[in-house]
Symmetry: C2
Subunit: 418 residues, 2 copies
């Protein structure tokens, strides 16, 4: 008998009827002979409502108090789900982050988990309980309440699975698994039955919003098998995510993803002096701005130009920092381009197949899609294209790499938040 950790998001527990549906999925796993720990998010729009309340009190709420406030959302869900499970005649009890001992750093609103205590969890499991744990929250060694930031509940579930040495962590969502691309763009896209952590990470980073990268990274680190599956179709096994070393076969291209949330910044006429790039990117990093694609090229006149992309939310801050740095690094011009989408193909098998990049560029060219910038990694090739061409590019790439199913997939609901 193994331990299964299940995670249900906010839409899955949005009302009492849905909470009973979740209870059914939980009990089903218990009836399969497993010990079950369930991690849940706050109900539906609870978190948004609490944030709105705080904003009505002050424009600039303290992050410690925000964590105190927001952590109540999950505490409501765990109590209600325990009641629903109990009403079916099963032993259940809820535990908040403090009670479990989900120990985090003391960084409010985006703490990282440093340890998970397993004594109480194991004790309650031995006593035959289904344990319902509040996701998204933790506690510092000093007893301060923290939250984990975006993707927090997924990360809680994976970290608990790792700590308990669970057989598997099942992430229930309102999609049926991981698709090779966004089914809203390519409705007849194939669902992956199995995919590697690495591929999932690349897909997640470039905009396939099924799982937050943090949770996948944690699963990879502790080798926890993940299953992304539907809350509504319990018989559907969804997509299993495991280490690439455990996969017997994989396709050269597992998926296609697009990210339209970035902008490109171009710095021209930089002097070709060592340390210029370091200065620039250190200044950005010091201000917590993540930089994605970076390309540096040497011009004929002996100067450099550096192009890179940042999240569009960070554009104003990035420009301010770059202008401050302009004197130091003697940049000639700062140009921005907001009309970009990053389209990527991802696949663990890519490394062995030299022709994949060429196939990608050809598919785009055949569809009259201009490539503004290219970057590659071992399992990913990304191209910047004009925003208006993003969907066309995705469709072309799915066709090219045989990612469409013969039957049109039916996708229920919106893609879930992470």
């Amino acid at each position: 008998m193994g331990i299964i950790v299940q995670k249900f998001g906010g839409t899955s527990v949005a009302d009492p009827q849905k909470i009973h549906n979740v209870a059914k999925a939980v009990i089903r796993e218990k009836e399969n002979g497993n010990d079950v720990v369930v991690v849940v998010s706050a109900m539906g729009h609870t978190t948004d409502y609490l944030i709105k309340l705080a904003k009505e009190v002050t424009n600039n709420p303290d992050s410690r108090e925000m964590d105190m406030l927001l952590s109540t959302g999950e505490q409501v869900s765990i109590a209600l789900l325990s009641m629903a499970i109990q009403s079916n005649g099963y032993k259940a009890l809820s535990m908040n982050g403090q009670q479990v001992g989900i120990i985090t750093e003391c960084i409010h609103s985006k703490a990282r988990i440093v340890d998970i205590k397993t004594e109480k969890l194991n004790k309650y499991l031995r006593e035959g309980n289904i344990i319902v744990v509040a996701g998204f929250q933790g506690v510092t060694p000093e007893g301060e309440i923290t939250t984990l930031g975006r993707g927090g509940s997924d990360t809680s579930a994976v970290a608990i699975a790792a700590a308990l040495n669970a057989e598997r962590c099942d992430i229930y969502t309102d999609v049926e698994g991981v698709y090779a691309t966004d089914p809203r763009i390519v409705p007849n896209i194939k669902k992956a039955d199995i995919i590697s952590y690495e591929e999932m990470l690349e897909l997640a980073r470039v905009g396939a919003n099924v799982l937050h990268p943090r949770s996948v990274e944690t699963a990879k680190q502790f080798n926890v098998p993940l299953r992304v599956r539907s809350s509504f179709k319990l018989d559907n096994l969804g997509t299993l995510i495991i280490g690439v070393e455990n996969m017997e076969i994989y396709k050269p291209v597992a998926g296609v993803a697009a990210d339209s949330s970035q902008v490109r910044i171009l710095l021209s006429n930089l002097p070709d002096i060592p340390g210029t790039a370091a200065k620039l990117f250190t200044a950005l990093a010091d201000n917590n701005i993540s930089v994605d694609m970076i390309i540096q090229s040497l011009a004929n006149n002996g100067t450099n130009s550096i192009a890179f992309t940042v999240d569009s939310d960070d554009l104003d801050t990035a420009l301010k920092i770059l202008k401050e740095q302009k004197g130091t690094v003697q940049a000639g011009e700062i140009l921005t381009d907001k009309d970009i989408s990053k389209v990527s193909i991802v696949g663990a098998g890519m490394v062995d197949r030299p022709g994949i990049a060429a196939d990608m560029f050809k598919a785009l060219a055949d569809n009259n899609i201009n490539i503004k910038m290219i970057s590659t990694s071992e399992i990913k090739i990304s191209c910047l294209v004009e925003k208006q061409n993003a969907n066309k590019a995705i469709k072309a790439l799915c066709k090219k790499f045989d990612l469409e199913s013969e039957n049109i997939a039916v996708v229920k609901g919106d893609l879930p938040e992470v």
Copy 2:
């Protein structure tokens, strides 16, 4: 510089604007040079909403899970109130029951406080913080979340004041203080400037719903001066409640109260054998039924009859128990009377004035109010009257004992929940 503990109920923090009003009252006390600890209840109807949610999940929610659920209500309020105080430029932080260390018994939904840790409270006060504490909740030594039941937040505030050796505990409500009777019945009733714990207890027990008896009992036990005052009129000092031994003058009758929530049960033809009453009332007590007025009388035929009152919510259970006991104690008949109100006069000075009881009976007789049952204590005389006569009786007694003010008091809002 002393410590002042302030308590604000759910109506005082019902929305962001009201939370800012509370922040003003808190800051005012801090500006007076005091260290301030604020205890708050859940916002407005939050608790009712959470109970409704639970009932939608199951008819019979587990009390442990209910405590997990309900304790979130206060946690929302403390976070928002801290933010409101901080937005005025003052240092504040919120603490839930677990963080403070409000240690209780492990009895869910009606736990009693057994200890309050003061290390963190004192540390944060020394650092200049206003501390906002969640009322109504505690934690067992094992880390289980408990709630304190009715009157819980008042009790939290008084217990914290006792633990911190505070100068005073101010209970802010939407009335201006303690009145000699319900101002909804006698609109020109006098507000007491000062009243003893004992008088307050008797007034509270018989239906003057300003403070829950538990909180007054705790204040009495630890000799914490209490002030009941208005959230809306901060200049009004309300009513000070202290030990009778500290009062220099008191009136023979401090207040008049009525309680229409009881029913009378009469057992006739009981054999005059020692132990009969003990058996009956032990059986009731074993089922957690509180019995109030008890009168036993010997009839001519050598049998007893016993009359007593219980809360009308407990009537069905009480009758069931009495019927089971009927064989044992050979009661001839069980009669119930639901048409009763208990009207009481309360006053610490009563004991020195032998004519007070006679004055009460005369006032009722002059108004054609029949007395069904009488009971007395050192500082209280209660009479059962027909329900329809309760308000008439209160008015007559207020007039008789000079409890009406010359000026008509203006009372804002409803009487608060306890």
